[in-house]
């Protein structure tokens, strides 16, 4: 009996996930034909609450692509893979305090800020580097024009509030 209930519970959860995934997918299905451009997959996955790295994203894309990549991803292939991701709670978002620590690692002398040049250097040369567009966009919001630096604690606080 308990087993049945549990199974039912999981089924409900899966059904909910399916609807969520469908909604997110449809936002980017511009031609209403159950496909999205492969370049939007990352956005879709992230909009569902996951926070994969670029490498992890690449692996996921390989899973959902056709054998002969067409540049489009079909919903039928995307759904089961994404459902599994949600069920397994993969690619959890990063908590605020961890993020703060990451910034602090880049600021060993604990000044409380990073200069614009330092930020650019780290973001475009380390980790999974930003494109120029990504860098510019981040700078536009993060840099305090007077000091030409980013006070990362404030920055995080601002972004987190806005994220909802």
């Amino acid at each position: 009996m308990a087993d049945d209930k549990e199974r039912e519970g999981t089924e409900l959860v899966i059904a909910e996930f399916h609807k969520k995934i469908k909604d997110a997918f449809e936002v980017f299905d511009h031609e209403a034909n159950n496909t999205v451009d492969v370049r939007e997959i990352g956005t879709i996955i992230r909009s569902l609450g996951c926070c994969p790295s670029e490498g992890e994203l690449h692996d996921l894309i390989v899973e959902v692509e056709e054998e002969e990549p067409t540049g489009y991803i079909r919903f039928e292939k995307f759904l089961p893979v994404m459902t599994k991701v949600l069920l397994e709670k993969r690619y959890r978002p990063i908590p605020e305090d961890i993020l703060l620590r990451a910034f602090e690692v880049l600021d060993p002398s604990k000044r409380g800020f990073l200069t614009k040049e330092e930020l650019i250097k780290y973001m475009t040369e380390e980790g999974e580097p930003f494109s120029q567009e990504e860098m510019e966009e981040m700078l536009s919001a993060a840099i305090d024009p007077e000091s030409n630096s980013i006070r990362y604690k404030d920055y995080i606080a601002m972004m987190v509030v806005d994220d909802g």
Binding site: V27, I44, R46, I98, A102
Partner: protein, 698 residues
């Protein structure tokens, strides 16, 4: 707890192994997710605007049925139809009496004399930039000259890069003067070396449609070979009734507005249908069908297509399937097909729908003794060609099917484009008609270019505008812009928030307008009468009522305030909706909802009823019209309610309702609070010889 433990172990790993590399990777990962969420919000917002707009267009189609019905039953008969016609014709030829209009001495606006010189046109641009208004006399004069000029021109206009080295093609402007001024500023004013083609939809929605028309027509008269205008689906008096041009003209020109509208209707019919550059690039407003016939297009009597307003089949949700072209066999219109006549009357709709779907293909003759036999050529092919050109959209899938979203024209696939290009030996197609976030978009393997020039179309920050330049090599060179200085200072985050807010406001309104229906649906999901429903049920219910095809679960955080454990107290949610929207508590709430829901239609109805464009309708007319409308649309309002409503609106008890006051009472007049209400206030320059007895309001 679990997250805490996970966090701790991560922290532990970090402190021992953390390098700059890993720290950077973490930040990047987090940031990319943040941007993805922004991007999703942006797409959702766009979808909201689109679906509301298309839903509005569907209303428009239903409304057209109603208008036809109205016309059949309420327009006065004219027994001497031919005399009436002849009188109208001579009036038009006489130039609508503009010569008798006096321009007062204290008029400080721009003055025109004909034939126009380039500096007149430039002076106009400058004058409008300074927010001056052109006197009605000059408006009429200009329109008259424009018409004279257009009548001599062919349907398909040919331009060559031999004469002007570069040609700039601009898309929809929709009354946004700022964008036009920006284009001239950035790209240069028109000249013999700098040719321009404006690809339709100059008017409606924006508040400066009149000024744009004046500028465009002036330059066309000054540089007839280098400055061309294609007709768009908004260059159409029926569409103007609903989407703003009629209102703008009547507001800016209280005495002579009617005359202006009449001649404008004619001018629109005489615009080019398409432009061909070097016989290689075809420019037209909407698109093509799978039976494109440029020869027919070149020969047909374009001025007889007064309006491309269409009667349509039932709308299917955007995400749903559209009927294929083969599914509804072409059915000849019921009764005798009646030819179109070059009618001058502005209040008679005259249209023929695309040959598919139920109830299609109704043709209506001018009011008066109907069924007077066939006149002129059979209407379907001509009308269809023009409708297709002005309304169609490209699609990625192959084939050609009915454009049910717009209610007219079709969706055409890559092979249709290919066919057209091959048949006429063309290189590519430039069209407009659809707004694009970047102002332009290529499709069909870069054979079709959509160009849209109205930036910030939905809201500040919503999209860019663009124009395209062609040199002798005919390689398209695209320039993008956003004609609002503010947007440059905003970050993407702020831009998206503002646009989102605007979209959400529209969505709130729509939800409120359907409160009763929503309550009914919610109750269905609440069999145990707990007052709660799951969020999943909420999403289903909302979609089944509104039919907007929106991703409700994605929008949930913005529409539903804090819901614990995945349920919602729907009654209080609906009450919250109401609190935000209600402005008059003394009117029965269901009536208010109904009016709200039909708000865009109301305005159009009033304007049709107010056939003499006086700005007033009598109480009786209002009651009758509303009764008809509600029975036609199956809305349930009691007679008493209507009477009460009518009486409450007639504030000065003189038996007449002032349209603007009525609409404002329900806050229906478009909110211009962010733009500074200059267009709603009569100009201080006293350019219009109105002699109106009513003191200016607001």
């Amino acid at each position: 707890r679990f997250i805490h433990k996970w966090g701790h172990s991560l922290l532990a790993r970090i402190s021992t192994h953390f390098t700059a590399f890993k720290a950077a990777a973490l930040i990047q990962r987090w940031y990319r997710r943040y941007m993805a969420r922004l991007e999703t919000r942006r797409c959702c917002t766009w979808r909201i605007f689109q679906s509301i707009e298309y839903a509005g267009q569907q209303d428009h189609v239903k409304l057209h049925d109603f208008f036809s019905y109205l016309v059949d039953h309420f327009t006065p008969n004219s027994n001497h139809e031919s005399e009436y016609e002849a009188r109208k014709d001579s009036e038009m030829e006489k130039g609508s009496d503009y010569e008798s209009i006096e321009v007062p001495d204290n008029y400080t606006g721009p003055r025109l004399s004909f034939p126009l010189l380039p500096n007149h046109a430039t002076a106009l641009v400058e004058a409008f930039r300074l927010k001056q208004q052109l006197h009605a006399r000059y408006v009429l004069n200009l329109l008259h000259e424009t018409r004279k000029h257009l009548v001599q021109l062919p349907n398909i206009n040919r331009v060559s890069t031999c004469y002007s080295e570069e040609i700039t093609v601009c898309g929809d402007l929709h009354g946004q003067l700022d964008d036009l001024i920006f284009i001239f500023h950035k790209n240069g004013l028109p000249s013999p070396e700098r040719a321009y083609v404006f690809n339709g939809d100059f008017v409606d929605r924006g508040k400066e449609s009149v000024e744009i028309l004046m500028i465009l027509f002036a330059f066309m008269l000054v540089y007839p070979k280098e400055f061309r205008l294609n007709r768009g689906n908004h260059e159409d008096h029926m569409v103007n009734l609903r989407y703003g041009l009629t209102k703008e003209v009547m507001h800016k020109y209280k005495t002579h507005g009617k005359k202006i509208l009449k001649i404008l209707q004619d001018v629109f019919c005489w615009l080019h249908l398409a432009t061909l550059v070097d016989e290689k690039v075809l420019i037209l407003h909407g698109g093509v069908s799978d039976m494109p016939d440029l020869e027919l297009l070149a020969k047909l009597d374009r001025h007889k297509v007064l309006t491309t307003e269409v009667v349509s089949c039932e709308r299917e949700g955007r995400a749903g399937s559209c009927p294929g072209a083969g599914s509804a066999p072409w059915a000849p219109p019921p009764g005798l097909p009646r030819g179109h006549r070059a009618s001058r009357s502005s209040s008679i709709p005259c249209s023929c729908g695309p040959p598919w779907g139920p109830g299609a293909g109704r043709c209506r003759q001018q009011a008066g003794p109907p069924r007077a036999g066939r006149r002129g050529a059979p209407c379907p092919p001509r009308q269809k060609q023009v409708v297709d050109i002005l309304w169609s959209d490209p699609m990625a899938q192959e084939g050609c099917k009915a454009n049910t979203v717009r209610g007219g024209g079709c969706y055409f696939g890559p092979s249709v484009t290919e066919q057209l290009l091959q048949k006429y030996n063309l290189q590519f197609l430039i069209r407009s008609h659809e707004r694009k976030p970047e102002g332009y978009e290529f499709c069909h393997r870069r054979k079709v270019l959509t160009i849209f020039s109205a930036s910030n179309y939905y809201e500040v920050g919503s999209n860019r505008g663009a124009y395209v330049k062609l040199g002798p090599a005919l390689t398209p060179y695209i320039v993008q812009y956003q004609a609002n200085k503010e947007t440059h200072r905003l970050t993407m985050r702020q831009r998206i928030s503002r646009v989102e807010e605007s979209a959400l406001r529209s969505l709130w309104e729509k939800l409120f307008a359907s409160s009763l229906d929503l309550l009914g649906e919610f109750k269905k999901h609440d069999a145990d009468k707990t007052g709660l429903i799951t969020l999943s049920a909420w999403a289903e219910a909302v979609e089944s009522v509104l039919h907007l095809g929106l991703p409700w679960r994605m929008l949930k955080p913005q529409l539903v305030n804090s819901s614990t454990d995945n349920t919602l107290e729907y009654k209080s949610w609906l009450e919250d909706l109401a609190k935000e929207q209600l402005s008059r508590e003394n009117i029965q709430s269901s009536l208010l909802e109904t009016l709200y829901r039909n708000r865009p239609n109301l305005e159009a109805i009033f304007r049709i009823t107010d056939s003499d464009h006086s700005g007033f309708i009598s109480l009786d007319e209002f009651r009758q019209t509303w009764k008809l409308f509600s029975s036609h649309m199956n809305i349930d309002i009691t007679d008493d309610c209507i009477c009460d409503l009518a009486r409450s609106i007639d504030l000065n008890r003189d038996g007449h309702i002032d349209i603007n006051e009525f609409l404002e009472a329900f806050r229906i007049v478009e909110q211009s609070s962010t733009e500074g209400d200059t267009s709603d206030c009569p100009q201080a320059t006293n350019t219009d010889n109105s002699g109106c007895s009513k003191p200016s309001k607001r």
